[in-house]
């Protein structure tokens, strides 16, 4: 469980990135943090694994104040995948990159092998096992960074912009993986601008603006409210846009899923035919 209590954070250059944020994320929850560039999203999640410590207020991870433990201790529990994979990758081969943290955590050789193979398979990287991460495309490097954290199976996982450079199939795999983690009562927090991905996952959405939390609710409610979204520089997903435009015809407004859209439209058309 992550408890954020009235957290303020000011960077050394004087920029006040968080201006009093409070929230609780329970075990097994899947939350997406969205909002305009510079809203403080990444700053906030960097508090969850102790990379940043609040200037004022506190962050508790499973009841422990992040100021009282090292990042190394927290890392085992809270995995963090950065927005830009190049800040994270350094090994000579993809395989070594994924094995690195496992070695540091002191896993046994045979377990390391098994977990590396598992992660390579999950993220479609098997053919690159012996390749240098720097020979790969942007989207592939992103998946290597993800694999290297998933490999140690942290209890909480923070993904900063996980869908950048990913094609539809990779996104679908990521979605299924997140759902699996959720079923195992693990916690997943993503920071993202990808409204269509969020619409497909329907997580809890936390909307930030100017260092504050402006909304907290189910995706289908938040993503179908144009007034709030515009404030946070987010646009509704395409299906929501269609239903908002047609709301004068008596259609419901809070639809974000294409198959749900189909059900609603078919039943309305059937009604009309009668």
């Amino acid at each position: 469980m992550i408890e954020v209590k009235d957290v303020h954070f000011t960077y050394p250059n004087g920029v006040e990135a968080l201006k009093g944020v409070s929230l609780t994320i329970n075990n097994g929850e899947f939350a997406a943090i969205m909002g305009e560039n510079g809203a403080g999203k990444t700053t906030l999640v960097k508090h969850f694994n102790g990379l940043l410590k609040p200037t004022k207020g506190s962050v508790l991870v499973d009841g422990v104040d992040t100021r009282k433990v090292s990042v190394a201790t927290l890392a085992r529990k809270v995995g963090f995948v950065f927005q830009n994979p190049d800040t994270q990758l350094f090994s000579e081969t993809v395989e070594e990159e994924i094995a690195f943290a496992l070695k540091n955590f002191g896993f046994k050789e045979n377990i390391i092998k098994r977990r590396v193979t598992w992660a390579l398979n999950l993220l479609g990287l098997v053919q690159y096992r012996k390749t240098s991460p720097f020979m790969l495309s942007g989207g592939e490097r992103k998946r290597v960074a993800l694999a290297s954290v998933l490999a140690w199976n942290p209890k909480m996982l923070i993904l900063d912009e996980p869908t950048i450079g990913q094609d539809y199939q990779q996104k679908e795999k990521l979605r299924q993986f997140i759902m699996q983690m959720k079923a195992q009562r693990r916690t997943i927090i993503i920071v993202t601008h990808d409204v269509e991905f969020v619409a497909e996952c329907n997580p809890r959405v936390l909307l930030m603006r100017g260092g504050r939390m402006v909304t907290d609710g189910e995706a289908r409610k938040v993503l179908t409210n144009p007034e709030i979204l515009t404030q946070a520089s987010v646009v509704p997903p395409q299906i929501a846009q269609i239903f908002i435009k047609l709301s004068d015809l008596g259609l419901p407004k809070n639809v974000i899923d294409v198959y749900e859209a189909r059900e609603i439209l078919l039943s309305v058309l059937e009604e009309q035919a009668k």
Binding site: S233, V258, V268
Partner: protein, 282 residues
């Protein structure tokens, strides 16, 4: 006449086990807005690097076949000559911006081309105004937001007044509204100035409605090449795993359910809601 053309282009990076681009023959017409997409690692970025000579001159490796851009044979021209004709905006603006002010960054390419001072001043101001960052001209690029940086990167390429502008996921770090605005700027430049535009992008929900021509790649090859409405409604595009816009997807599903929405495949929520309005009123 095609402004960019590749004939049986195959390219392997130095030390690469297999070609990243395989036997690609494409034509991009003058003034077109072209979208290049396909699964991650399919060779999109590599193909674009062939258009302005970064391949083979900078990356080296092995190139077979032929690439012509603005009437020049790419393999025979130095990058500095090609840069006058084909501008490239990188995925990450931080890889591109380096000067102490936005204005200097935008002027840099022109200085290198030896453009006279007066002309340089004119073109820099023009590019800054077009991209809406004239007021930021004296600010340091690294102090700007992601969206402003992305605009500065586009301005620095525009100032060179290339005939073709190639943009590799130019909004990947931007919030949705910021991304929408950048695509609107790019579209305007294409329509108003007739600059041939090649956009590499996964997010078709945001971009499909702007484009004249789509090229879909898979595993180094071009697998689909043609008119957007035709391509995005094809079964092949879906099987390759291209992210079909949800409006188009809803249209396809309803067509299967025998809802009569007409034959004009929608690419945006505006087009789809108009089609639905037609049947829902009736």
């Amino acid at each position: 006449m095609a402004i960019i053309e590749t004939k049986n282009l195959t390219y392997t990076y130095p030390g690469g086990a297999k070609p990243s681009v395989r036997d690609v023959s494409v034509k991009i017409e003058k003034g077109e807005f072209v979208l290049v997409t396909g699964p991650s690692g399919c060779g999109k970025t590599t193909l674009c690097r062939c258009f302005n000579g970064l391949i083979p001159h900078f990356y080296q490796g092995e190139l077979k076949g032929e690439v012509t851009a603005a009437g020049l044979k790419v393999a025979e021209q130095p990058i500095c000559e090609l840069a006058k004709h084909v501008g490239l905006v990188f995925q990450n603006p931080e890889n591109q911006l380096f000067a102490l002010s936005v204005e200097k960054d935008v002027a840099f390419g022109l200085e290198n081309l030896g453009v006279p001072r007066e002309e340089m001043r004119k073109r820099v101001d023009w590019a800054l105004k077009l991209t809406g960052i004239y007021d930021l001209r004296e600010r340091a690029p690294h102090e700007l937001s992601g969206g402003q940086q992305q605009r500065a990167a586009i301005a620095s390429v525009l100032a060179m007044q290339p005939e073709v502008i190639v943009l590799d996921e130019p909004t990947s770090f931007l919030d949705p509204l910021g991304a929408k605005k950048i695509f609107e700027v790019i579209y305007e430049l294409n329509r108003k100035l007739g600059i041939t535009t090649v956009l590499v992008e996964h997010r078709l929900d945001l971009t499909a409605k702007y484009v004249d021509h789509i090229i879909i790649m898979e595993d180094g090859k071009v697998v689909l090449d043609g008119e957007p409405r035709e391509i995005l409604s094809s079964k092949e595009a879906r099987l390759i795993g291209v992210g079909i816009p949800k409006a188009t997807r809803l249209y396809q599903i309803l067509q299967k359910d025998r809802v009569k929405l007409g034959n004009a495949v929608p690419l945006s929520s505006d087009e789809m809601s108009a089609l639905l309005r037609g049947v829902l009123k009736a």
